[in-house]
Amino acid sequence: MSRFEIYSPEGLRLDGRRWNEVRRFECSINTHAHAADGSSYLEQGNNKIITLVKGPKEPSLRSQANSLKATMDVSVNITRFSKFERSAISHKNERRVLEIQTALLRTFEKNIMLHLYPRTQISIQVHILQQDGGMFASLINGITLALIDAGIAMYDYVSGISIGLFDTTPLLDVNTLEENAMSTVTLGVIGKSEKLSLLSVEDKIPLDRLESVLAIGIAGAHRLRDLMDEELRKHAHKRVIKASTK
């Protein structure tokens, strides 16, 4: 793929977006009311992710119980059919997946009020049905929604976004084609602040460009937070109306 196509001189990207536009973002919560305490279904561009949160519940092993706070675990299931070509191997024990799980766990550990739920366990399961770039970021958004749906006390939203750097132009919310063609940065932003819980750069980026990438990333993450907030309020509103007819 020639670099020309990624970002045209007219300022258009492969899918017709401009540099500062995020992809279609649709989410719903409480999608699996019977299977889990909190659940969400998220579509960010062509990423499709189901997240289930179970708990706080009695730990499955007594050794997992901590008398001061809840224990957490995250498991990420990248389905074999999630990419264009069906993968021949299971992704379960790949180091990359283990790394993502650990990073997600550590991101949310600091954002959930674990001390409110001693001797319990909160387990998060993520199923990736389809992936199209910026998957890690979408996982963060999915988990945030599911945790809020489960009624688990959190300090604030965490919204994830990935930003690519094309030459000198940062491109917000990259898809697979863009992700493969250039260096990307993934951020996990706390609420409307400029605090980063997660920051991951996996390819070379000029040090002097990093700051502008972070800035646009934070702005994009705030946008996603608003979109999630909007959906959540819509849902909450529906529930409140229903409850008032009781």
């Binding site: 706080p56 809020i148 749906d149 489960a150 609420g191 800035a215």
Partner: protein, 365 residues
């Protein structure tokens, strides 16, 4: 991928002073793209005060007024109070809290609950009550065969499984709460104990409202136990249930008081609770269902179960009256299996609300 609908991010000036955003500004000013503005109502940080009953989401500023005491679902920094859950604001006197839209059952002392034994341990049973942690039922908090005042002996400890074992369902009352919020139960009343002759359904605990009475005899020879924790037991109405119902209008309705209460029962009642108790003895822990449950009662039980599922689907709070109304509305469907089809559940939900409004008690509760 041209069908991707994009949402345009307003580039509202990067907040960093030190950023070289020359080219960025060029972009945003040159290409003035139409902006989709949806964040009209969701910018929580800008409001100073959120009214009671209003919906808040995590991280949202509720108030900057330091007079409020911070309750559940909130956290604070200096004078500002923030929400930590998605829910509605509740202000009781000076106490400010956020009631989450959803969440597991939180036990409170005195709650009538239905639970399932998960573990038999040292002088105690662990009971799954759908809460954050399993509740504890101490051997000393149950009635054992052979009279209420009997002392618990070592042999009782050894044969705990003959009373209650893993998988058994029982109803009980929350006796006390531990420091970490987990509950200790007791079944020291004849209305509590092992459950038989029916089936268990689970609904969100928020749908069952705490009230004086949680056991109701329904038309069709079915009795429902609405556990506050959202566990619901439906069973064939037993003699005990009938006995309990008859004097319920009288002054001596508080059987829960134990043996004295049971004795003061209406003497005109044909079956005395004390006698029942003597008769039951070992039977209160029996695993045998009543052999006389007829197919029609079984059908009624499953009809009620599906009505409750339908009401829960529509997120309608469960009360005695509503279950009965729902049952009556469901008679229109002869096939019980039909009741859990989506459209039917919705229509039953609508029926219940409409009928209740017509009867004029819709606004209460």
């Amino acid at each position: 991928m041209s069908d991707v609908i994009s949402v345009i991010k307003r580039q509202s000036g990067l907040k960093y002073a030190s950023i070289d955003n020359d080219e960025m500004e060029n972009f945003s000013s040159d290409e003035d793209v139409p902006m989709v503005d949806i964040d009209g109502k969701s910018n929580g940080g800008k409001r100073n005060e959120a009214a009671a009953g209003e919906i808040v989401t995590p991280g949202e500023l509720i108030t900057e007024d330091p007079i409020w005491m911070r309750g559940h679902g909130t956290y604070f920094l200096e004078n500002s109070t923030y929400s930590s859950a998605a829910g509605t604001i509740s202000r009781v006197n000076r106490l400010l809290s956020v009631i989450p839209l959803k969440g597991r059952y939180t036990p409170e002392t005195g709650d009538h609950i239905v639970g399932r034994i998960t573990d038999v341990g040292n002088k105690r049973w662990k009971v799954d009550i759908g809460g954050k942690q399993h509740a504890v039922l101490m051997l000393g908090s149950v009635n054992l065969p052979g009279g209420i005042l009997r002392r618990k002996s070592e042999s009782d400890e050894l044969q705990m499984r003959t009373f209650l074992k893993e998988g058994d369902v029982l109803n009980a009352e929350v006796q006390s709460l531990f420091q970490d919020g987990s509950a200790s139960l007791h079944t020291r009343s004849l209305k509590y104990g092992k459950l038989r002759d029916g089936l268990l359904i689970q609904v969100p605990s928020s749908l069952v409202v705490r009230s004086k009475n949680h056991t109701h005899n329904l038309p069709g020879n079915v009795t429902v136990l609405l556990g506050v924790n959202g566990f619901i037991w439906l069973r064939k109405t037993s003699k005990m249930d009938v006995a309990r119902e008859t004097p319920s209008a009288g002054p001596a309705s508080d059987i829960s008081e134990g043996p004295t209460g049971a004795k003061s029962l209406n003497p005109t009642n044909s079956v005395s609770i004390t006698r029942l108790e003597e008769e039951s003895s070992w039977k209160i822990y029996s695993d045998k269902n009543d052999p006389s449950i007829t197919p029609s009662i079984r059908q009624n039980i499953s009809r009620y179960a599906n009505v409750i599922k339908a009401l829960a689907f529509c997120e309608i709070g469960l009360t005695h009256e509503r279950i009965v109304i729902g049952y009556e509305a469901s008679i229109a469907y002869s096939n019980i299996g039909e009741l859990i089809e989506r459209e039917v559940m919705e229509s039953i939900g609508d029926d219940v609300i409409n009928i209740e409004k017509m009867r004029g008690n819709g606004a209460t509760e």
